[in-house]
């Protein structure tokens, strides 16, 4: 693998043609990456079983001998019958908690079905108007998540049952971009911006420059997604480049929204009361700046004839993912992860290294979507080499987060946000590394044009971005509203989303690989369609689990915003409980 590595980078030289599949570096890397989370889960399980067995063994041992020991020393005599009174820690006084330190007390001694997690700690007061704005961002984002993935789920069903309907507005080719764009520009983008309206002023130790501008962006982006979706279903699109299916007059609203928020954030950072600019704001503000650059290049309506369109498409598609969603989310994690662990980030420098390395390498890799196509071969090689370079920011970022987690792993069990962060971080590593492996020549032969790509984009946009966003939303909203989500439903959301993603992606990766092999063997195309049928069914099943988890998330969000209507007497006097 090590020797094959350097050679995997050249775009257009044919080499090692008949080497078996399992000697191809791209394949090996991907297999290892798929095994990483499974192996971690296996080790975890073994440790749990061992611990349980040890506990059982301990319990079965005979009680400690209580007979008096013949001990010559006279002082020993009163010591032997001594017994604890049960009040050693409480002291002589009646229980009292005049400072409200005890967060939770219960007389309910039933065996809990799910482990009790820690609740959010109250934060210094936030301007209720800002809270209102953020909740609207997150609320509309949740709406687009549910709507966008309902469309996605329906598309998954259509691959299994193509004659489900014959309504032009619901036909597969028109709905597919409705799904992708709604979850991109509706769900992920609005959620990111909403969270940033909290983080950007918070790490600047100041207040947001303008709430009004926040509302303007919210309205513009939502309008863009509504109009864009309607246009797409009505057959008005921008000629089929992925993720730029909205026509530019619609996307201009989105861009305008970003410009307004960029100005707002810049003004906020300018009036910060900290000397240095915290790393989160490096990432977040740069993400907005870069996305505006990308949008102007990709949407400028007077150029891109012939292959110009393809070159810009590769650039746009991948920068949209890497410079908007990934960069922005990293910025959010640099704030929320340390906050949730109650400790500083492991290394500020690693964060800065990852920042510049991400810009350097990510910008280069767009055309790896068009390897072996008619665009200039040097551009293809640059893209593959850049994809390899991406390992630097990915490893730097992952190391930074894992080292921040170090010493805090025990907190995961008692937190309902950290499992989302850990999952997002693991997928950040495996998903990004998989992207590198997919850019190699041979893996392009095998996987390009198959559903493997679809699996990869879900592992990343969902496994990384959506999980990190959920983590941050569960971390932030209870602190804004004072209402906790039902913990067992957060757990159900997590497991359904995670298992759904696995059921969705693993069959598609297997099916995609088999399909690619079939094409390489020159089998009739239709056989490869028949081959995919069971894998598409699994995808629909996994998609259903994911969709269900979003319904739970929407309910959890509702509970976090409005609380329980007939709230149980929240303040059972602590005195009574303990008495």
């Amino acid at each position: 693998m090590v020797t094959a590595w350097p050679r995997a980078g050249y775009a257009q030289t044919a080499a090692e043609q008949n080497a078996p599949l399992l000697t191809q570096p791209g394949i090996l890397i991907t297999l290892v990456l798929i095994l990483v989370p499974l192996l971690a889960a296996f080790i975890f399980m073994v440790l749990q079983v061992r611990r349980t067995l040890l506990r059982l063994k301990w319990q079965q041992q005979p009680a400690v001998q209580t007979e008096a020991i013949d001990f010559p020393h006279p002082q020993r005599n009163p010591a032997v019958p001594y017994q604890l009174s049960g009040r050693e820690l409480a002291g002589q006084y009646a229980p009292d908690d005049s400072r409200g330190i005890i967060q939770h007390a219960s007389n309910d001694h039933a065996i809990p079905f799910v482990a009790e997690k820690k609740k959010a700690q109250a934060r210094p007061a936030i301007d209720p108007k800002l809270t209102h704005l953020i909740l609207w961002y997150l609320g509309t984002a949740t709406f687009w998540l549910v709507l966008g993935t309902t469309v996605g789920e329906y598309l998954g069903i259509k691959l299994v049952s193509p004659d489900a309907d014959t309504v032009p507005w619901l036909s597969f080719g028109r709905l597919r971009p409705v799904h992708t764009n709604a979850v991109f520009w509706g769900w992920s983008s609005l959620a990111m911006l909403g969270l940033a309206y909290y983080v950007v002023p918070k790490v600047s130790n100041t207040t947001i420059a303008s709430l009004r501008q926040g509302w303007q962006t919210l309205i513009l982006i939502n309008t863009a997604v509504v109009l864009g979706s309607l246009c797409l279903m009505n057959g008005i699109n921008n000629a089929g480049g992925e993720y730029r299916e909205y026509v530019w007059p619609v996307m201009a609203l989105f861009g305008l929204g970003l410009i307004i928020t960029l100005i707002n954030f810049l003004r906020t950072v300018a009036r910060r009361t900290t000397t240095e600019i915290y790393i989160s704001n490096w990432y977040i503000l740069s993400a907005i700046i870069f996305t505006l650059v990308i949008s102007v290049i990709a949407y400028w309506p007077t150029w891109q004839n012939g292959l110009g369109e393809t070159i810009v498409q590769g650039y746009y598609m991948h920068q949209g993912v890497g410079m908007w969603f990934m960069l922005f989310n990293l910025g959010l994690v640099y704030y929320f992860l340390p906050q949730q662990l109650n400790k500083p980030i492991y290394s500020y420098s690693l964060g800065i290294l990852a920042f510049w390395a991400q810009i350097l390498f990510y910008t280069l890799i767009g055309t790896h979507h068009f390897v072996f196509s008619s665009i200039p071969w040097w551009l293809q090689t640059v893209a593959i080499v850049g994809s390899m370079g991406m390992l630097i920011p990915v490893i730097a970022g992952t190391t930074n987060f894992l080292m921040t987690l170090k010493g805090g792993w025990n907190k995961i069990a008692s937190s309902y946000t950290l499992p989302f962060y850990v999952t997002g971080i693991i997928f950040y590593f495996t998903g990004s590394f998989q992207g590198t492996a997919e850019a190699f020549r041979f893996t392009n032969l095998l996987w390009h044009f198959t559903d493997f790509t679809v699996a990869h984009s879900h592992l990343t946009m969902y496994g990384i971005i959506a999980f990190l966003l959920w983590a941050s939303i569960y971390a932030l909203v209870p602190r804004l509203t004072g209402h906790e989500p039902p913990q067992w439903l957060v757990g159900a959301h997590f497991w359904l989303a995670f298992l759904g993603l696995m059921f969705y992606t693993i069959p598609l990766m297997i099916g995609g690989t088999l399909r690619g092999l079939m094409w390489m063997e020159g089998k009739p195309f239709i056989e490869s369609v028949v081959l995919m049928a069971p894998y598409w069914l699994w995808r629909a099943i996994g998609g259903s689990l994911m969709w269900l988890s979003h319904i739970l998330f929407a309910y959890n969000f509702y509970r976090m915003v409005v609380g329980v209507r007939a709230a149980r007497p929240a303040a059972t006097p602590i005195r009574e409980v303990l008495a």
Binding site: Q17, N18, K158, L159, V160, P162, D163, T166, P168, S171, F172, G173, R174, L175, R176, G235, I236, A239, G240, G241, L266, A270, E276, I277, W282, L285, V293, I294, I297, Y299, P301, Q304, N305, G306, L307, G308, E309, T310, I311, Y315, M323, W356, I359, T363, F370, F372, S373, S374, I375, P376, V382, L445, V454, W519, E521, G522, P524, I526, V529, W536
Partner: protein
């Protein structure tokens, strides 16, 4: 360090760094490519109908599942006789002020590549029926149906293009299915998708990874092995060239494509008519669609034609004698001379 404390300095640096890189990997190469490119000599821009059809293709998001690029790797050879070159995309320019250029290269092949679909499947009747419901012609297809591009009429008017839809795909509707202009334009676009030959003397770029494609039978294998090879080839060639209309079962489709199973022409002791039809097409029977000159369009070699007719004459219960490659060659030569000196 200034970078850490001065936000103007930090964000300007990041902006310039990113924009500079974008200039090198996206803007300049894209500009260079659009300026230094020209359509291949002898190729025409799309006709008005085909252009309107391209709009229909774009509006319905067909690119979500169909690519239009033959990569320079052997596995893509089935989609075109040569890899695509930049010039193949030179006709694609902006069609509207509100819409981007549509090269429609695509990134997914849930369905087949369409670079050369106009050559591979030239039949109007096939395309119309396929659009009305793909499963009427390809049972296993998962492509969406486009019935809203057709009308159901009681009375046929002059100029109506009637589509013969098998009863089980009529969705309990009664009447005759007639293609709308939209459907005809879309098919016109699909038929226009043909790979143009490179100008004389220009060598096409090579297909890489050639050895991974099925190897041609070496010359020195035994006759037995060669015969097996021919049978295997025949089935694959039939699937690639004939099956879309005549179906894997050889039963054809009632009202659209005639059956080969039990056909007198197919099983005729003298294969001349059969070979003539494969090479030059057939339009003698009212009740069926017109057969295109598939053999000529797809440049089928005598060996390939022999394999195909062997498959057709020995499958689905058909029983007819073996036709050798030499015999096929003779008949082709005879047909040629007949055509030249009628």
């Amino acid at each position: 360090m200034k970078l850490f404390r001065n936000h103007t300095y930090l964000y300007t640096t990041a902006f310039l760094f990113f924009t500079g890189l974008s200039l090198v990997v996206a803007i300049l190469p894209a500009l260079y490519n659009q300026e230094n490119n020209a359509p291949l000599p002898g190729t025409e821009p799309l006709s008005d109908d085909a252009l309107a059809g391209k709009h229909v293709f774009i509006a319905n998001g067909c690119v979500a599942c169909h690519s239009q690029q033959v990569r320079n790797v052997a596995m893509d050879n089935v989609w075109g006789s040569r890899p695509n070159v930049a010039a193949d995309y030179a006709h694609n320019t902006r069609m509207h002020w509100w819409m981007n250029t549509a090269t429609l290269m695509g990134t997914e092949r849930t369905g087949p590549d369409l670079t050369n679909i106009g050559t591979r499947l030239p039949s109007l009747e096939w395309h119309l029926l396929h659009l009305y419901n793909p499963r009427a012609v390809v049972e296993e297809s998962v492509m969406p149906a486009y019935p809203w591009m057709f009308q159901i009429k009681e009375d046929i008017e002059e100029g109506d293009k009637v589509v013969n839809v098998p009863a089980e795909f009529m969705r309990d509707q009664h009447g005759t299915v007639v293609a709308t202009r939209e459907a005809l334009q879309l098919v016109a676009y699909l038929q226009s998708l043909q790979q143009a030959p490179l100008p004389d003397g220009t060598a096409a770029p090579a297909f890489l990874y050639r050895s991974q494609a099925p190897a041609a039978a070496p010359a020195n294998v035994s006759a037995d092995a060669a015969a097996t090879e021919a049978i295997a080839d025949g089935a694959a060639l039939y699937a690639a060239n004939c099956q879309a209309c005549h179906q894997a079962t050889g039963a054809g489709l009632k009202g659209a494509f005639p059956p080969l199973k039990g056909s007198a022409i197919v099983q005729d002791d003298d294969p001349e008519v059969l070979i003539d039809i494969i090479l030059h097409g057939y339009n003698a029977r009212e009740e069926y669609g017109e057969m295109p000159a598939i053999g000529t369009i797809n440049h089928l070699k005598p060996e390939e034609i022999a394999a195909i007719i062997h498959h057709e004459r020995t499958s689905w219960g058909n029983q007819a004698r073996e036709v050798s490659v030499a015999e096929v060659k003779d008949i082709i030569a005879m047909l040629e001379s007949k055509k030249n000196n009628p």
